[in-house]
Amino acid sequence: MTFRDAVREGIRDAMRKDVRVFLMGEDVGHYGGCFAVSKGLLAEFGPERIRDTPLMESAFVGAGIGAALGGMKPIVEIMTCNFSLLALDQIMNTAATLLHMSGGQFNVPLVIRMATGGGKQLAAQHSHSLEGWYAHIPGIKVLTPATLEDGYGMLTSALNDPDPVLIFENQTLYNMEGEALVSPGAVDIAKARVRREGKDVCVLTHGASLHKSLEAAAVLEKEGIGAEVVDLRVLRPLDDATIMASVAKTHRVLIVDEGWRSGGISAEISARIMEQAFYELDKPVARVCSAEVPMPYAKHLETAALPQVESIVAAIKQLVLGHG
């Protein structure tokens, strides 16, 4: 079973259980989904519930908000987060504000899924990682599933949530193989999770970088360095308690984020550590982020721009041993 299958099963099961759930977005029906996530769903549910939309991100996201207000449970797929900027007004000015602006009267139970991340030589306009950016906005929740269990379960939990939830699926994860889920269901969408225990340093990360960080931790274990890897899972609201517990345990912190460093989620996490766990730090907080460039096409340049196992290993060695 792949991550793609897990997300598809999440959508399928939700639609079977609740007639209010429907999927809309560009190429979700006849094409089968840009990343083949919704392949086969049109045949099962028909065009009323698997709705191909024109290329109008603002309108179909806005329509999703309206449908949610009207009692439906829409899953809106924005092909990639790069195009979500065309719908940013609807997400930020309407979905995120409506409940508060209406004094608690109009909540928006909307789920927006989008692919995120680089690494496939798609160049500057198709490789953004904007999940940290969206995490800036109060009123929405931001999820970054990185396991099959979360790929299925976060969608289920998001549909149960009364407020707008954005799910960022890293496009490099869709082919990731894993054990078939035994009894898939809703998962917690408030907590980070320690994916690997360690005593020397904690690595705070999410999405595709989780797997790179786990790989780095395995390399370092052979050299006697114990890296704890925390999967943040939820970028808004951040689970401060789990983060600070890991900081207090290891006293050294590396944040790995595919977003840019300046003003990114890594900066926010670092600031919170200063606020809440300063006296636990034995080293300055370190970060491995994407290079501050529009993503280049050429493979070697793209590789250099993104966090990689090697750069994570080097950053951890610098933290723990004082040299790379």
């Binding site: 300063f278 006296y279 730090l281 034995d282 080293k283 004082g322």
Partner: protein
């Protein structure tokens, strides 16, 4: 009577200039009538009134720029009697119903409000006479001394600093690892029973003993000490002290230690090379003089907490600092800055009858000044032999940082300061 005021047409409107009245005194007006034109940042806007009645008084003349809310005219109901006439405001002074405008930065306004500074009394030093933050702070604390320059900081990780404080470890006694920064491991090494250290025969399990052991072992191991000593005639100093104390009540009297500290601070001002640190194979002179004063503890051991900026303190202030510090040191309630900031240590063992001191420098400091007991001795002065109170002052200094020449200069000026106590 109803007031017709300069309306507030938006969050960005603070004032308006009356361009023209459409009415005159005695005219009848109806709710909704446009009765004035007002010029704003956005252009001229028609202003309507919200009352029906008769214009009783006009208070503002065209040309006046007035803040929002200022009364421009009074409207009386059709049946009301006119109010006694009052002079009409001329355009220039423009009815200052609100505080006069001050040209100050937003930050300056905020700070002024916090500090209770009246901005209208200040002259701004910024561009175009703008009152800025510094102007306000200067006005709020005109006599405040300039902030003393910080001593060269030993870099310590937040965790290490917390652990040291919790365990009563003097960070000055800790040597950093390869990073040059004191970290958790360095604290734990210092706090751990010093297995590999060829430490003094201290079996005491307490952290302080271990910390002293570690620091002194490190000092002896790493610092190439050189020692100098000189004998100082304390006649003038003691005489001055006696006279000073005669003026004071018992509780305000000065101890000789005050003079010692003051003279050392003065001498360091003259010979600053001894005041500072040896860190990362580098001699770092500290611009501030924070003297560590060795205080022996009742249960054994000693601490040398810093008295900050001794050079800038009066004798009474030093005395007060000592009175505050000694009991706190003995109760183990020192502040972390006192544990780490010393730039030179002074140790006086005269009370115990010792004649002279050969000290061990506290790393990363580069010198230690020791004082022995003041003993009456035969002393020749101006060709006359007499009995004088004599004290031996000694210097232990780090040969990596300074040479004997510097040390000798220091002891020489130290002696001179004791001969002119009134200048202390």
């Amino acid at each position: 009577m109803a007031e017709f005021v300069m309306p507030n047409l938006g969050a960005d409107m603070e004032a308006g200039t009356l361009v023209k009245w459409h009415i005159k005194s005695g005219d009848a007006v109806r709710r909704g009538d446009v009765i004035a034109e007002v010029d704003t940042e956005k252009g001229i806007i028609d202003i309507e009134c919200f009352e029906t009645g008769v214009i009783d008084q006009i208070k503002i003349e065209p040309g006046a720029k007035i803040p929002v809310g200022t009364v421009m005219a009074v409207i009386r109901g059709a049946e009301e009697a006119p109010a006694p006439a009052k002079p009409v405001a001329a355009p220039e002074p423009a009815a200052p119903t609100k505080a006069p405008h001050v040209h100050a930065s937003p930050l300056a306004k905020k700070i002024a409000a916090e500090l209770g500074v009246d901005l209208t009394k200040l002259t701004g030093s910024g561009p175009g006479g703008l009152i800025d933050r510094e102007d306000v702070e200067h006005a709020a604390a005109p006599k405040k001394a300039p902030t003393p320059v910080e001593a060269v900081r030993v870099k310590v990780s937040p965790l290490a600093r917390r652990l040291a404080a919790e365990r009563g470890i003097n960070l000055a006694s800790i040597s950093p690892g390869p990073s040059g920064i004191i970290e958790q491991a360095d604290i734990e090494r210092a706090a751990a029973p010093s297995k590999p250290e060829p430490a003094p025969a201290a079996k005491s399990g307490d952290g302080m003993r271990r910390a002293i052991a570690a620091a002194m072992a490190k000092s002896n191991r790493e610092i190439p000490h050189y020692y100098l000593q000189t004998r100082i005639d304390m006649s003038a100093a003691l005489k001055w002290l006696e006279a000073e104390n005669a003026k004071r009540s018992i509780k305000d009297r000065l101890l000789p230690a005050v003079l010692l500290l003051k003279a050392v601070a003065k001498a360091l001002g003259d010979v600053p090379a001894l005041n500072g640190f040896w860190i990362d194979n580098e001699h770092r002179v500290s611009p501030a003089i924070h003297l560590g004063f060795a205080i022996s503890m009742k249960g054994g051991g000693l601490v040398a907490p810093a008295i900050h900026n001794v050079g800038e303190m009066s004798c009474d202030e030093i005395m007060a600092a000592l009175r505050d510090l000694i009991p706190r040191a003995r109760a183990g309630r020192l502040r972390s800055s006192e544990m780490t900031d010393s730039t030179l240590t002074v140790t006086s063992l005269g009370d115990l009858g010792v004649e002279s001191v050969f000290g061990v420098i506290y790393p990363p400091q580069v010198a230690l000044v020791g004082f022995g007991k003041i003993i009456e001795q035969p002393w020749a002065k101006d060709g006359m032999l007499g009995v004088h109170p004599i004290m031996t002052a000694s210097l232990a200094a780090d040969h990596r940082a300074t040479d004997g020449h510097t040390g000798a200069q220091f002891l020489d000026v130290l002696n001179q300061h004791f001969q002119t106590p009134e200048a202390l």
